[in-house]
Amino acid sequence: MAYDKFKVLKSSAVPLPIENVDTDQIIPARFLKATERKGFGDNLFRDWRYYPDNRPKEHFVLNNPIYSGKILVGGKNFGSGSSREHAAWAIYDYGFRCVVSSFFADIFRNNCLNIGVLPVQVSPPFLQRIFEEIEKNPKAELTIDLPSQTITIEATSEKEEFDINPYKKENMLNGYDDIDYLLNMKEEIEDFAGGLPL
């Protein structure tokens, strides 16, 4: 599925300074029963966000109106656990276009890149600085500049570069997905398959 192009995103951010946020928290298994990709944002962080009777938990960050924005900032090892792409869909559907952390789980990172959510991995001290700035000012803005691969804390101009595979970067900048690329390789793939031992 193609998605919106990603170039430069300037936005306030929602802080979630918890480590090892697993995809079961991002979207619990019982919400994976849809056969279409829609509405997952309503159940983003369902059990951290709502009591069992569906009342919002006041202390959870998504229920605190002082925090908003298109960037989610999480603790180390964000997105561990299940391969469910529904977790990335829920983040996208809720309105985030970027997740910042000091460390991402592999499959989650891939899933994000495949659907148009940019995972930005920063150093642990920089992550700490982001959390501190948001704590000081919940409207503190971050700028994610994909062409120059930098993330900036606007209030202080502190800046850090982040890594992204050049191929994936092109895809994000243009809103392409891998399947278009592979569909154009059909003959090459079939020739290759013919030479395999098993």
């Binding site: 029963k33 056969t35 789980a105 499959i107 994936k168 592979l182 090459e188 290759f192 395999l196």
Partner: protein
Amino acid sequence: MSEQRTLFDKVWDAHVVRSISKGPDVLFIDRHLVHEVTSPVAFLGLKNRGAKVLYPERTFATADHNTPTINQHLPVKDPLSANQLKALEENAREHGIPYWGLGHQKNGIVHVIGPENGITLPGVTVVCGDSHTSTHGAFGAIAFGIGTSEVEMVLSTQCIMQPKPRKMRITIDGSLSRAVTPKDVALYIISQLSTSGATGYFVEYAGEVFRNMSMEGRMTVCNLSIEMGARGGMIAPDEKTFSYIKGREYTPKGEEWEKAMEYWKTLYSDSDAQFDKEIVFDGSAIEPMITYGTNPGMGIGISLGIPTAESLDGGVATYRKSLEYMDFKEGDAMLGKKIDFVFLGSCTNGRIEDFRAFAEVVKGRKKADHVTAWLVPGSHRVEEAIEKEGILDILHEAGFELREPGCSACLAMNDDKIPAGKYAVSTSNRNFEGRQGPGARTLLASPLVAAAAAVTGKVTDPRVLMELETA
């Protein structure tokens, strides 16, 4: 190629269709396993593009995540689950993919039935929209979990685009003590490496401990590779591997078998092959393990106390949040903690060997009155073996029931949910908050520890019941 290569290099390199400059490799996938939860949106994407499944004969579909574990002959009650199962059945039919739905003799958990039917072979690449696809690495395959966009990618092109991961080797020599199972070995490794310790790596397990392990045990270890962040784990194929796969339905036969064997025998890491990281543990240092927190890395030897926050490197707030969820205290002993549920099953421990182990402990004893035990075979084949080997009689005499196959309480997508606040000793793979039901508290352990808990109603060292000396 004259350079020294690892097992992983050999299998990976043999499947690279094209290397994209400064980009990922286009990797050919030999076997694609499909289940009902992560595939419907992929099939929808295929339809929207007007694409077809390129190799239906390399694709295999089963129903497992959603399925009930009782009365499988009746219509599935949950309308959403029923809808997903129906979607898979229709998609499989439309694209000519073999489909083993509820009631089918080959039905079961995707990672149990792949090996059972000879779909999983040495040297192949296997993917599935499920992180525990790493299980199949036990056969010397490269196997890993993928997201739904990638499921669509593999359906339509039989390829995936992946940068080649780094390589790690975990070597464990020495012999395991009695009552120390492959599950304990895996939980021990994860507790030492943490849940992110192998992120970015593909792991090869090497050494005496893995060589001595059964194929079932190797599957358990490879299954849990993802829980330390690794994309997958693999073990070089050997005579044990070959004799396990021989004669299974999809295994090559006759001349094809001979040809395949020639190839399979080249699948090992060359003696001077380089790994990006090497880790060594001593097998004799491992004891039966149990988790106390909300990720699989929070595990300890069963006789130890819960670590204090002071002993950690960082992340104290997250650690305390985790213990609060479990309602455990730093320093608490795990032995003697009262439990409410026991779950034997899942793609980690739902194979015949796991039921044999469970039966070994419960034989001649009785289930504790206050414990609810869900014993769920990984497949119909496992279910049949449980009956045939007389294990079912042992279970019945001890007051246990056997349920029908499926993922069940591992991720609680069906009715098998641990109620909020209750404690479950579980042989599955994840103890995340709410994993086995909203508010459920999960202690991961081996089938032996699960059995000891089921008959005593509390966390118990199985070695005591097995009359083995404890440390």
